[in-house]
Symmetry: C2
Subunit: 342 residues, 2 copies
């Protein structure tokens, strides 16, 4: 009585083709030459038995998982699909698999879900991984690449991020130079959010460059969130704070600003110019169309994977890759109406 196994194994193939399992393995991996005639027999056997090698066995034997892990704190957010798209494409091109893990509200360390035991390397987005774990992995030379997060000073981990500061500076300078705005609000993102910190720095540098004194009362909480931005803005207006432009921190917050301004009958851009950051899909559809910064998020994903692959191949990775941002001028800053809408 034959043992009825659910799937064919390498031994079945070997037997069927009249060779040893070693030979089958060799045509599978292709890392050792096999006489073409034999190889063909093996391939035929594989096809006939519909043999698919178990990943676990391969991984165990070869000590390579052929998988790249992606850790992020939250799925969702406007940039996320772009990032993932880039990552996925590049991972696939490189012949790896992609394991995704979100640390959203999870007590970490409970069961280390992703790490050296199931991936060859890790892509870490923003602050999705605890510092301890980051250090632990780095200390055992585990390949890591960070995205939108600079590593602790003493750890040399490659980083891919965008030119937040330059982008912000372009934006604010544009408001000052082209539209003569001088009381420009900056709405900060979440506490400790790196992107936000850099954007604020860009904001300040633009002010400095144009000799506009920095006014702390113009820097407020936007949290990169529509609701928060809207209520903050309404509060500012109620408080009677004067301003002629708002750099909302990101486009989501800009939506909230729009709402608050419309509610209080301010005209954009006549009364208040508004600019965002990210160029989310409907920045161009909203009325007036939003002036913002476009960042090559998809490219960030691709580049992160590329650097990680370098690491996996034992090569050096670039320790910092800054992706160039681009000013997208539409209507909300006060520039002429584009011909695209209305």
């Amino acid at each position: 009585m034959k043992k009825t196994r659910k799937y064919a194994t390498i031994s079945d193939v070997a037997e069927h083709a009249g060779v040893s399992i070693a030979t089958v393995s060799r045509v599978l991996t292709g890392n050792t030459p096999v006489i073409e005639e034999t190889a063909e027999r093996v391939r035929a056997a594989i096809a006939e038995l519909r043999f698919v090698p178990r990943t676990a066995a391969r991984t165990l034997a070869s000590r390579k998982t052929n998988t790249i892990g992606l850790i992020l704190s939250e799925i969702g957010g406007a940039f996320f699909p772009h990032l993932l798209k880039g990552i996925e494409a590049e991972v696939r091109t490189a012949g790896y698999e992609l394991l995704i893990h979100s640390t959203q509200g999870v007590r970490q360390h409970q069961h280390r879900a992703v790490g050296e035991h199931n991936t060859d390397g890790l892509l870490v987005f923003t602050s999705s991984l605890e510092l301890d774990e980051l250090k632990r992995l780095h200390s055992m030379n585990f390949p890591l690449v960070l995205m939108h997060q600079t590593p602790p000073a003493d750890l040399n981990i490659p980083v891919i991020t965008i030119e937040n500061k330059d982008g912000a500076e372009m934006l604010v300078s544009h408001l000052i130079e082209k539209h003569g705005r001088r009381r420009i609000v900056y709405m900060q993102g979440p506490e400790g959010h790196e992107d936000s910190q850099w954007r604020e720095r860009g904001y300040r540098e633009a002010l400095e460059k144009h000799n506009i004194p920095f006014d702390p009362s113009l820097v407020v909480k936007g949290e990169f969130d529509e609701e928060q931005a809207s209520s903050t803005m309404q509060q500012m207006i109620a408080d009677g704070i004067e301003f002629d432009a708002v750099f909302a921190g990101d486009d989501d917050a800009a939506m909230g600003v729009y709402r608050a301004l419309k509610l209080t009958s301010r005209i954009i851009p006549d009364d208040v110019a508004v600019v965002g950051f990210d160029d989310i899909q409907f920045a161009r559809y909203i009325s007036p169309a939003l002036t913002t910064i476009r960042a090559p998020i998809e490219e960030v994903g691709r580049e992160a994977v590329r650097q990680l692959i370098h690491l996996l191949n034992g090569q050096q990775a670039q320790s910092l890759v800054l992706m160039r941002t681009e000013l997208v001028i539409r209507e909300s800053c006060g520039c002429a109406l584009s011909d695209h809408h209305q």
Copy 2:
């Protein structure tokens, strides 16, 4: 001289705690009782050695990958983040890992990237998997759940999708009953797209229900795409086809319709009412705000995972889950301006 291994293994832990590896394994899996005192010693050893069990070894030995695979044809699209968010959350709650694979422009069968060899079950979105492969997997009793795609008649694979037909009917009935529209255009999605087919059926049923004769010249190509929808609409206008409302198929296409109508100076909703489907994020921001159908995409993802988990546990799964859709009335159909925007 001690062998310097990179990571601690179960034997190291066993030795360190003065027990056999079997015992360590037992406290790891928790499937066999171990005296508390011993267990504590083992846990201490694990912590001290920073031991993390290799997934590959566990998988090989236990024949369970503890991983759920997600196959889709394309990353991106407005619904995608929602879907993924639901899936990821539920997968994590269930204690599984998530392996993502896109079949975007890949010659399939080349290297079966995801399947029985590296996952316990598969979530298949729309037509991302070849029929052959689907049949093969199903025939070996591999757990599968489809999303937004009904399976070939002879295969009993659970499906999760939304009530496209009901949604479409609500939409069209609303246009007829509340706004007296009678010449309503339907813009089809891509050839063979199931969602589109059901929506068209809903459109037709609404017409029938109100005794409006079906006019084939009002059913056109929208491809669920802004560009395509825009040019189709312009063509219709150029051809002098009369209509007083457009059901664009989805919200993306509705954007294209907006553009075409504005270009030709038609007023929405006075001249032409427009409705979409999906309630993408900026449906409420565009002007006039778009009347559309909201579908619980995130819930589709969650439910798909739940059904798959049932299958994984050897339980029965519901063969069809239809998620209820909801009419979201805004301005583009002709209803009173909401208080949300202007």
